[in-house]
């Protein structure tokens, strides 16, 4: 049985092309995915991300629990509403999921985890909670709408209830504010400014339609994927999974090794991997010829060694094909990609292609 978000009928009214996404019936586009992509980079678009899983961690030991659970350190969060991106590892340092954690106060945190990993995440959160004075409270009745683009804040703030619009206009990037069940994070998955807004399900359709009326363009999962690829953001299940560790997934920056006294699940295994220093590297690729890079295509280094594209596609902003890839650490400045048996030239770049409307690499 396919699951539906509260906005399902709103998508159908807009003639969205719907697809099955990890058991959810979700819009992939409402017409042209490329138009939606450009609209977010240049103006403002919105995405229904209500399928994502929101979990509150409440209790006297919430902080200690999350310091053990997560590879990044929630002790970095000192200002109310501040957010942190982290991996949640298993004992072997494999990535169970990536998530955002918001600091509400020392005893209350909010996690946003992936939809496709919901069941195993909840099971893991509960298992790890043994011995801690915490409650794990999933919030399945919250809808979530991401409004992204340079005009996101000016369009959203006037529509928020009560004084939340004033607070939302003030918050810094990667921070949140809230009022009642409404929760507004200045976060996103596109490389643009914007908000991710959690709100009660019974308010979601009305809010979505208000956003439509002020010219916010509905965008599907297709544009969401090309936007996050251009921003160089990893997608769980494609760029990393439980068989991969953060060091070989471009996520070394999310590991808090200090203070050394803090132990977290997977730390010992990750330390051992780090000391061996044989880990693969995670890079961005820019195709120098015509064609489209896709996940699972082989990357061929000058010495014949092989790597693999984890996510690839067409970049509407750059009008070129780009990819994220896991490759041997000795890769040079260029490499070849095996596209249907033909070797095509690619340049190796830092995996951040476009941010805030601007191309970040030389093309």
């Amino acid at each position: 049985m396919t699951k539906k978000t509260i906005l399902n009928s709103a998508h159908r009214e807009l003639n969205a092309r719907m697809v099955d996404f990890g058991g959810w019936d979700m819009p992939v586009n409402y017409g042209s995915q490329i138009d939606e992509h450009h609209f977010v980079r240049q103006s403002v678009g919105m995405f229904d991300v209500s399928h994502m899983t929101v979990v509150d961690v409440n209790g006297a030991q919430a902080k200690a629990y999350l310091q053990t659970l997560l590879a990044n350190d929630v002790a970095k969060l000192t200002r109310q509403g501040k957010a942190l991106y982290s991996c949640m590892l298993n004992e072997d340092a494999g990535i169970i999921d990536d998530l955002i954690v918001y600091f509400l106060d020392e005893q209350n945190y909010r996690l946003v985890v992936n939809a496709s990993t919901r069941d195993k995440d909840i099971a893991w959160l509960e298992k790890q909670a043994e011995g801690f004075n915490v409650d794990i409270n999933e919030k399945p009745t919250l809808a979530m709408i991401a409004v992204q683009g340079p005009k996101a804040r000016q369009k959203v703030c006037p529509l928020l209830p009560d004084r939340l619009g004033l607070s939302a206009a003030e918050i810094k990037p990667f921070s949140a504010c809230w009022h009642g069940e409404w929760f507004v994070g200045r976060t996103g998955y596109t490389g643009e400014d914007g908000f991710e807004i959690m709100l009660p399900e019974d308010k979601a359709e009305g809010f979505w339609k208000q956003l439509l009326e002020v010219g916010v363009k509905p965008c599907g999962l297709g544009a969401r994927d090309t936007l996050r690829l251009e921003a160089g953001m990893n997608l769980y299940g494609q760029d990393m999974d439980e068989t991969k560790n953060p060091l070989e997934s471009g996520l070394a920056w999310t590991i808090a090794w200090e203070p050394a006294s803090r132990d977290f699940v997977g730390k010992a295994a990750l330390q051992a991997i780090k000391e061996k220093a044989s880990s693969d590297k995670f890079v961005g690729l820019l195709l120098e010829e015509k064609g489209v890079l896709r996940g699972h295509q082989k990357v061929v280094l000058e010495d014949g060694a092989r790597g693999e594209i984890t996510s690839g596609g067409y970049s509407p902003t750059m009008e070129r094909s780009i990819a994220l890839a896991r490759v041997p650490a000795n890769i040079g400045e260029t490499c070849k990609i095996d596209i249907r048996g033909k070797l095509k030239n690619a340049t190796v770049v830092k995996p951040c292609f476009v941010r805030q409307g601007a191309i970040q690499i030389k093309i």
Binding site: Q33, I34, K290, G291, V292, R294, Y314, P316, S321, R340
Partner: protein, 129 residues
């Protein structure tokens, strides 16, 4: 609702084949296929002079979502390819039956067209999908 003109034949792999006055056959993909693929961003064209059997893979169309093989609907020799698609692959989205043609093949046996579906047959096929 997808458009399916009556003047041509259809393969169950979603190519159309139009018999032209000179006896050659023009080939492209259907409106239904381009809708499924989404925005087209790259077309790998066959080569003029290439000889193909019916059902051979001869071209690849890539959309933002996926790559899709194009199969020759008949046996013959490629006599023209739509080089405009190198710069404007989106012509397949905007005009799948005219500007978005992919190649023209000189058939060995025109009668192979009889094995393909007519417009009604193709509509039935896509409704069952």
């Amino acid at each position: 609702m997808s458009d399916t003109p009556n003047d041509r034949k259809y393969a169950d792999s979603h190519e159309w084949a139009l018999l032209e006055a000179d006896g050659n056959i023009r080939v492209g993909i259907t409106d239904h296929a381009q809708e499924l693929l989404g925005d087209l961003v790259f077309v790998e064209l066959p080569e003029v002079g290439q000889e193909l059997n019916k059902g051979d893979e001869c071209s690849v169309v890539e959309s933002v979502k996926a790559a899709s093989d194009i199969y020759s609907p008949v046996t013959g020799e490629i006599v023209a390819v739509n080089e405009e698609l190198d710069d404007t692959p989106e012509a397949i989205n905007t005009s799948p039956y005219a500007d978005g043609w992919i190649f023209v093949i000189k058939p060995t046996e025109t009668s192979e067209l009889d094995d393909l579906l007519d417009a009604d047959g193709y509509i039935n096929l896509t409704e069952d999908e």
